[in-house]
């Protein structure tokens, strides 16, 4: 049972939430902005751009010996505060323009929050439980090969609401939205709701993978199917064993989804290498509280 071509009139959860998008001027943050704008348009939410001048960075430019090592060339050049300030201003300006451009065509309300401090703290102070935080998996000049930056790691675990970690589009994009759950009922509700919404947004089939210890798996499946029916959505529900994170990654790769939704409370995060799961699956991931 898959869910495709659901009419858009199916009620989506609207509320007081906002879509927070982290803008740092990097390429991936611009891609994340587009995704955020789409979601905001669908939900009818306000979009709030957040541009944080990282205080550590500003401080580091204040040392006499400070040098900037080019991420691609490896060339070293001196760094000074004035120049960095100027660069930050121009990036902020660029973020503003991008935000305006992104909302202009969609008729959304937008605001840009410029602040100085530590990114995670600033975001946590801005975001509420209803807010969706959208950000690139990595920021500027993330080390080549890195697929999950420190900010993403931090927010994924601490944000009060959902966090969408945007990834670069793959060479061979997958198909479908997969929601990864465990058989405890706790946080499934929210993850499932997000999964249904994403599947509708992309007009793609939805698959629900349930990590189960075995005995009561069928009941969980039944409960999930009831939930899906209640929300007027359809999905394929599949039980998977409670194996290691690497095994889950393998199963997910088989599914080949375009997007993943997972709850922070999912037992997979308790295990070693849960981060590695996200690193290996280079695709947009929504982490729900």
């Amino acid at each position: 049972m898959t869910m495709t071509d659901q009419p858009e009139s199916v009620p989506v959860e609207t509320g007081s939430g906002r879509v927070l998008v982290l803008l740092d001027g990097s390429r991936l943050s611009l891609a994340a902005l587009e995704a955020a704008a789409d979601i905001a348009a669908l939900r009818g939410h306000e979009i709030l751009g957040v541009f944080v001048e990282e205080v550590n960075l500003l401080r580091s430019s204040g040392f006499d010996f400070a040098l900037e090592i080019g991420a691609s060339s490896g060339a070293a050049r001196p760094m000074d505060s004035a120049m960095l300030e100027m660069r930050m201003r121009s990036l902020a300006e660029q973020a503003r323009r991008s935000l305006q451009r992104a909302v202009a065509s969609r008729g959304l309300r937008q605001a840009l929050k410029l602040c100085r401090g530590r990114v995670i703290e600033e975001v946590l102070s801005l975001a509420g439980p209803e807010d969706l935080v959208v950000m690139g998996r990595v920021g500027w000049s993330a080390a080549p090969g890195s697929r999950l930056g420190s900010t993403a790691r931090g927010l994924m675990r601490q944000a009060p609401g959902d966090v969408l970690l945007w990834a670069e589009l793959q060479r061979r994009p997958g198909r479908g939205v997969v929601v990864l759950l465990n058989d405890e009922q706790g946080a499934n509700h929210r993850a499932l709701a997000v999964g249904i919404e994403q599947a509708r947004r992309h007009r793609q089939p939805l698959t629900v993978l349930v990590r189960s210890r075995g005995e009561d798996g069928q009941e969980v499946v039944k409960a999930i199917e009831d939930q899906l029916i209640a929300r007027g959505a359809g999905a394929r529900v599949r039980l998977i064993p409670r194996a290691s994170a690497a095994e889950v990654a393998r199963i997910l790769r088989q599914e080949g989804p375009a997007e993943l939704v997972v709850s922070r409370q999912c037992s997979v995060f308790d295990e070693q290498g849960a981060d590695q799961l996200l690193v290996e699956l280079n695709l947009p991931v929504t982490v729900t509280p």
Binding site: D24, G25, S26, E54, V55, N56, L57, R59, S60, S61, G62, F63, F65, A66, L67, E68, I69, G70, A71, S72, S73, G74, A75, A76, M79, L84, R87, L91, G139, W140, S141, A142, A143, P144, G145, S146, R147, E280
Partner: protein
């Protein structure tokens, strides 16, 4: 001297003896495979076709319509069927040098197979290689590779970050890279606070930062090398996968074609090329680019799969391209491009190992075709080059295909004139065309030939899908063949005329609803042909009967005789009489040829008149001087006169003018004469006689007329039936003459007379009259000379 006896009707027509034709209709006769009487040509063909040496190509010469092409094709077809089938030739892509496509040789019929094998192989590439790239195995291996590389890249940076953290130094990302700064409790120390650090602490921090910066620089600078390594390893993996995928089909192909080392080498080159371009096959949906797959195609240039024996090719438009092949171009977005698949073979390719028949006139009229043909025959290989490139007219990219060795026997067909001109003017010609096969125009008409000739007619009739001929029909055709050869002892070998006649006779038979072609239909065909060509002849005849052109067919006249001439118009000939007149008076021994003076006489005619004037002098003047001023003219002739066939008539008319003896106008004369008065053979006697006969018949008083012709011409006579009938009834007579005296006696009715030992002719003879008259002229001349010497003489007209 006795007057020669007139010819009887059997002498003027050689009938076909019915007993020689032992059949009712030609239906029962077997086909004649090779024409009779052409032994010379057949032996030349046999020799030329089997002779292996270089340059022993053939030139078959004979008049047009002699059936050269048909005979050669039939002969070579039979000859070639016993020879082995020549190899196939293919052009394939040259992976080392794309502009020079390679040529591959295959035993006959295997070229086609190889083309199919390569086409199947290409199809397999299209599906099998993308499938390999789609496979789990490949995907997971490539992922492992990428993960490993990503890890290696990341690990370097991660290690530096760890080291920095251990030393309380933060590695911070900037918009364009990284920087290091001292930190405490996870936060970068405020620069102001840092200033308060002791110098030692600062030095420690700064030296560590410097060290880290250097390490980071090194690590980052290694990234391109790592990336390159990834690319190389991915490429190696791709190659490995493609090698494995190709292993099966390529192995089969190599095994199958292991008997041809060049083909195996090409297969290896294909495999290397596929492996090299492995990535291009990765996209399973749109497939590899067409330009890539085209390279594995096979251009089958020469396909002898269905050839039986050696090929016999007739190229009816032997231009440069058709002979040597060509490289075509396709227009793509306004540009012309080509590749090895657009190479088209020519007739030389197709005929290689066999025979190529070409019409020599056509090959000579096509630009560069003759030169190209010679170049191929000299070099023994075909090098395809376009005409426009040879002339340097275009500069589009083109190919230089590997030359293909060729061993072809070229058979040129042409008329004799071309053969002799080429022999004379083209120094290469005799090097390349050493075998001359000369067609006979006529066949000997002997007892043994009738059956063969009848069989030839039977084959011909079947060939043109005509009805069978009756025995009479064949006999009539044989007789007509003699007439066409203008010889009682010959038969024409001219294929086209006989064939046309058969077709026409068949047409008349069909119109009558007849089942067989009888002699009547043959005769009808002959008559119809003659009638169709008779407009000019009839106009000319009408002028004579109406008296516009004056020809007397009765009575006697001095200084006037009927000569006979022949006119050839297109394919038809007809004869008609011409009035020749002469005048004679004293003079200085000259005979004025009015035709020559008026520039209407040809050189042979002039020569004949000179001969007759020397004949006169030597016969009648003896040791004395010939005092004569004579003139000769063809009356009412405006189109020029050529040939010596009127010299007997001219002699007679001149003698008549000198002697004042009238000549019988009922007789016409033809024949040439030498200085001793002997009559020699001439051409066109049948037409001449029939022409005079027509005039006599149309003038309405046919009864006592006749023709004098050289005795040596008698065996050339094949006269029309109405002429023969008139002869049988005694109304028309033909006299064979061998000496001028016989002509004189027949024309004058007087004895010619033979000179005695003093050179004097008997009293009362014609020659005596001539002699006396010339003597009188001499006397007059002498007197006039004396008068002139005495200063009394008047002016002499002839001076």
């Amino acid at each position: 001297m006795t007057v020669p006896a007139p010819l009887n009707i059997d002498q003027v027509y050689h009938r076909c003896p019915p007993e020689k034709l032992d059949f009712e209709t030609t239906e029962t006769l077997e086909d004649l495979e090779l024409p009779c009487g052409q032994e010379r040509v057949l032996r030349a063909l046999e020799f030329g076709a089997s002779m292996e040496g270089r340059g022993f190509n053939l030139f078959v010469l004979g008049p047009s319509g002699a059936g050269k092409h048909e005979l050669v094709e039939r002969f070579l077809g039979k000859h070639a069927s016993e020879k082995e089938v020549p190899p196939d030739w293919c052009h394939v892509y040259n992976f080392k040098n794309a502009d020079r496509p390679k040529a591959l040789r295959f035993p006959a019929a295997q070229g086609r197979e190889f083309r199919k094998d390569m086409s199947d192989f290409t199809d397999e590439l299209r599906t099998a290689i993308p499938a390999t790239f789609e496979s789990e195995e490949y995907q997971s291996r490539i992922q492992e590779l990428q993960e490993e590389m990503a890890k290696r890249q990341h690990q370097g940076l991660f290690d530096i970050q760890e080291e920095a953290n251990r030393n309380n130094i933060a590695m911070i990302t900037t918009p364009a890279g990284f920087t290091f700064a001292p930190m405490r409790d996870g936060e970068v120390i405020d620069p102001e606070e840092y200033k308060k650090f002791s110098d030692e602490e600062k030095q420690l921090v700064e030296s560590k930062v410097e060290e880290l910066q250097k390490k980071l620089q090194q690590t980052i600078q290694q990234i391109p090398r790592l990336r390159k390594e990834v690319r190389e390893r991915v490429h190696a993996l791709n190659e490995e996968m493609v090698q494995i995928t190709l292993g099966g089909p390529m192995g089969e192909l190599r095994e199958k074609w292991s008997h041809l080392p060049d083909v195996v080498a090409h297969l290896d080159a294909v495999r290397e090329d596929v492996v090299e371009h492995a990535e291009a096959f990765q996209d399973g949906e749109s497939g590899p680019p067409a330009g890539l797959l085209v390279r594995y195609k096979v251009n089958l240039l020469v396909d002898n799969a269905e050839t039986q024996g050696a090929p016999v090719i007739y190229e009816d438009l032997p231009n440069h391209q058709h002979l040597t092949g060509q490289i075509e171009h396709r227009a793509r977005q306004g540009t012309l491009y080509t590749d090895f698949t657009l190479i088209k073979g020519g007739a030389m390719h197709r005929a290689s190992g066999g025979y190529l028949i070409i019409d020599s006139r056509r090959v000579l009229t096509q630009p560069m075709a003759w030169e190209s043909l010679k170049r191929i025959l000299f070099s023994g290989e075909i090098r395809i080059e376009s005409l426009e490139r040879l002339y340097g007219l275009v500069s589009t990219t083109s190919l230089q295909p590997e030359p293909i060795p060729v061993s072809v026997k070229v058979v040129l067909l042409g008329d004799r004139m071309l053969y002799y001109l080429l022999s004379h003017y083209d120094p290469d010609f005799l090097d390349l065309f050493k075998v001359e096969a000369d067609f006979e125009d006529d066949l000997d008409r002997e007892d043994g030939c009738y059956v063969l000739y009848a069989r030839m007619i039977a084959s011909m009739a079947r060939g043109v899908k005509a009805r069978p001929l009756t025995r009479d029909g064949v006999a009539r055709l044989i007789e007509h063949a003699s007439r066409l050869a203008s010889d009682q002892r010959k038969l024409t070998a001219h294929d086209r005329v006989l064939r046309d006649l058969l077709s026409e006779a068949d047409h008349w038979a069909r119109q009558d609803g007849a089942e067989l072609i009888t002699d009547e239909y043959i005769q009808q065909a002959i008559d119809e042909r003659e009638y169709r060509a008779s407009r000019i002849r009839e106009r000319s005849m009408e002028q004579i009967t109406r008296g516009i052109v004056k020809i007397a067919t009765g009575g006697e006249e001095v200084g006037q005789v009927n000569g006979l001439s022949v006119l050839r118009l297109g394919a038809s000939m007809f004869g008609q009489p011409s009035r020749i007149t002469a005048t004679a008076r004293p003079g200085k021994g000259q005979v004025v040829d009015i035709e020559r003076e008026a520039k209407l006489g040809g050189p042979i005619h002039s020569k004949a008149v000179m001969i007759l004037s020397r004949f006169l002098a030597s016969r009648y003047a003896g040791d004395g001087e010939l005092s004569l001023s004579a003139s000769l003219a063809f009356e009412q002739s405006y189109g020029g006169v050529e040939g010596d066939s009127a010299s007997v008539a001219e002699t007679c008319v001149l003698l008549s003018a000198i002697a004042g003896v009238p000549l019988k106008q009922a007789l016409a004369v033809t024949g040439s004469m030498n200085q001793h008065g002997e009559v020699q053979a001439v051409g066109g006697v049948n037409e001449k006689i029939e022409g005079f006969f027509n005039v006599c018949r149309d003038s309405g008083d046919l009864g006592s007329q006749g023709v004098l012709l050289p005795e040596s011409n008698v065996e050339h006579l094949m006269l029309r039936k109405d002429v023969r009938d008139a002869m049988g009834e005694g109304r028309f007579t033909i006299y064979p003459i061998s000496d001028i005296n016989e002509a004189i006696e027949l024309l004058t009715g007087m004895e010619a007379g033979v000179a005695d030992e003093n050179g004097d002719y008997p009293e009362g003879s014609f020659n005596r009259k001539v002699q006396d008259r010339l003597a009188a002229f001499a006397k007059v001349g002498k007197k006039r000379d004396e008068d002139n010497d005495n200063g009394e003489g008047g002016k002499n007209d002839d001076d």
